[in-house]
């Protein structure tokens, strides 16, 4: 009896879902009110940029942080979402919302397929396969004239979209809702049986298997969810920028940020990727505006190296140690 109570207490305090959701929605509304008060379109732009990374980093964390499998293909999954949205619009005229849903389905299936092919091997092979997947997808998109090929695709957005003051604000609100939803899913997963199983896989996969954790099934759930959420992060991208080409969609800065943000914030906790994304996202916006975009990637690279070397638990680790 004492053993079970001990592990219960050790895993986590009982999750207070209502508090989290109310807090997140309150924070979202507050953000919107502040940005509207500022009234500058750049505010929405920067907000979207950061929130998109909150989604991407949280998605990476589901597989990388909880289960310990490194996905290098964030840019590939994200572009899969973005190009699904473009293709859907061209084929059927359906716009943003169905596009996000379709992007999630396609990227999720892609994650499932990659996982199914490689997850029975050592984790490193999965990582290399995701690296390759991004290259394969980019080649396919470059050669696929229907979605613009290497020239890129245009999406013309409406000027007005009531009740929002501008298209930028609309996109910001969409991404805000997606970010809150993603973080909520990640948090719920962390406190569920699936989360506990994934943590067992991360700590010792063989031992987990030996005590009856269905490792392959759990890993496939995690890769599918991770891929789908990355697709969600990417699907609004063409609507947001109005133009998308393969170089922008498969940009390596997505891949590096998707890994750097959770690791710097604290991988394996739902709050870590959020902290990392807000911190690094803000830093990069500031660096792009004031210095240069080359330098900001350089800073991210150095921060990643320094953090994984000196603070392997990330910023969240600082708080845990002090308690």
């Amino acid at each position: 009896m004492s053993a079970t109570t001990l592990t219960r207490a050790a895993i986590a305090a009982p999750p207070r879902h209502a508090v989290f959701w109310l807090g997140a929605i309150g924070l979202g509304v507050a953000l919107l009110v502040i940005l509207r008060a500022i009234g500058n379109d750049y505010g929405y732009f920067a907000g979207y940029f950061i929130l998109q990374y909150v989604v991407l980093a949280s998605a990476w964390n589901i597989l990388g942080g909880y289960a310990g499998y490194v996905n290098f293909g964030a840019a590939g999954f994200m572009a899969a979402g973005a190009y699904t949205a473009i293709a859907l619009r061209k084929a059927t005229g359906l716009d943003l919302m169905p596009g996000i849903l379709a992007g999630a389905v396609v990227a999720g299936l892609l994650g499932l397929g990659t996982g199914y092919l490689t997850l029975r091997l050592r984790g490193v092979f999965f990582s290399i396969a995701t690296l390759c997947l991004a290259v394969v997808l980019q080649t396919l998109v470059v050669n696929w004239d229907y979605v613009g090929g290497s020239r890129g695709a245009y999406i013309v957005n409406p000027m007005e979209i009531p009740p929002f003051v501008s298209w930028g604000e609309y996109m910001f609100v969409v991404m805000l809702v997606l970010a809150i939803g993603t973080v909520g899913i990640a948090r719920a997963l962390e406190h569920s049986r699936i989360g506990a199983g994934l943590a067992a896989i991360r700590d010792n996969e063989r031992a987990a298997e030996a005590v009856g954790v269905p490792t392959l099934r759990l890993k496939l759930i995690a890769t599918t969810l991770c891929g789908a959420l990355m697709g969600v992060a990417g699907a609004p991208l063409p609507y947001y920028s109005g133009y998308l080409n393969p170089d922008a969609a498969f940009s390596l800065s997505y891949a590096v940020n998707a890994i750097a943000m959770p690791l710097i914030g604290g991988a394996g906790t739902w709050a870590g990727p959020v902290i990392g994304a807000v911190l690094l996202g803000t830093l990069q916006q500031a660096a792009t505006v004031t210095i240069s975009s080359a330098l900001n990637l350089w800073i991210v690279g150095w921060m990643l190296v320094v953090f994984v070397a000196l603070f392997p638990r990330g910023i969240m680790g600082w708080f845990r140690r002090r308690r």
Partner: protein, 293 residues
């Protein structure tokens, strides 16, 4: 000769020459990833750094790029020693190489790549030796020296490496360290020292491969990215720790890529090659030439 057949023959021959370059690029990785179990995804980035250093020195002194590549190899050996020291101290010793170590090398890629952009600018760099414009003809088959000379150098270096690994005590120790580090300790050999030496050699090979790369094609800071998948594919297909297997896989890979480019256009060649890797990972992870574990 039938023009289609001649095209195919030329595609195969230049694919073999391209495979020589790939063997140079993958040789170091066969040591670090294949033998030492260090997943150095920054290997191609360091190769491109080698190419830039070769261009800078070669242009300044007016020397042949391949000669410069041999001269800068010791420098890259020292870089490799430094990287391994850091990696061992922070990750390997703590047993955190899986997640944190991978992230570390990923960060190194960005530091190298963006550092090159800031130091040299994002544009392409080239350094053509005089023989780069000569093409030998054997009947229907073209043999451009631009491809042939680097491939010959690569095969020579890998050949010497194979001999050294099989004949010398240190070479045998490197092969042994991956299999059983504790047993090596019983032979009064420090496995960490051996791994540091071997990793230094692997980065020296990356620097040399950079010299070969610059003879074949112009380089830009991001040239390494496309090589990441290629070199890992080659090492895995070659059976991880086997250098002869790696060379065979590299040649095969070059041929498949080049024949695809000849018949369907160069924009398709990456997808075919990487699709092939995905299939190998899925159905034959021990490599085409490796033994089942």
């Amino acid at each position: 000769m039938d023009p289609q057949l001649s095209l195919l023959l030329n595609g195969i021959v230049s694919g073999l020459l391209l495979g020589g370059l790939y063997a140079a690029a993958a040789a170091g990785l066969a040591i670090s990833f294949g033998m030492l179990d260090i997943v150095n995804i920054a290997h191609p980035a360091l190769m491109v750094m080698g190419a830039f250093v070769v261009v800078a020195i070669g242009t300044a002194l007016g020397l042949d790029p391949l000669l410069v590549a041999l001269l800068v190899a010791p420098l890259f050996y020292l870089v490799g020693i430094g990287i391994y020291g850091f990696y061992h101290h922070f990750f390997e010793r703590r047993g955190e190489e899986a997640l944190q170590g991978l992230a570390f090398f990923f960060g190194v890629i960005f530091i190298v790549e963006v550092g090159l952009v800031m130091a040299f600018g994002p544009e392409q760099r080239f350094l053509d030796p005089p023989y780069a414009f000569i093409t030998w003809r054997l009947g229907e088959v073209d043999l451009p020296l631009r491809m042939l000379v680097p491939a010959a150098l690569a095969v020579t270096v890998v050949g010497l490496l194979i001999l050294w690994l099989r004949r010398s005590f240190t070479g045998l120790a490197i092969a042994a360290v991956a299999q059983d580090a504790d047993a090596l300790r019983l032979m009064a050999v420090d496995p960490v020292k051996i791994k540091r030496l071997a990793f230094g050699i692997s980065i020296a090979l990356a620097g040399m491969a950079g010299g070969a790369l610059v003879v074949v094609q112009p380089v830009e800071p991001s040239s390494g990215q496309i090589f990441i998948g290629r070199v890992f594919a080659i090492v895995i297909m070659g059976g991880m720790a086997s250098l002869p297997g790696m060379v065979t896989a590299a040649l095969l890979f070059g041929v498949v890529e080049n024949v695809t480019a000849t018949f369907y256009g160069p924009s398709w060649s990456p997808a075919v090659a990487f699709g092939w890797l995905l299939l190998v990972l899925a159905f034959r992870p021990q490599g085409l030439f490796g033994r089942a574990a």
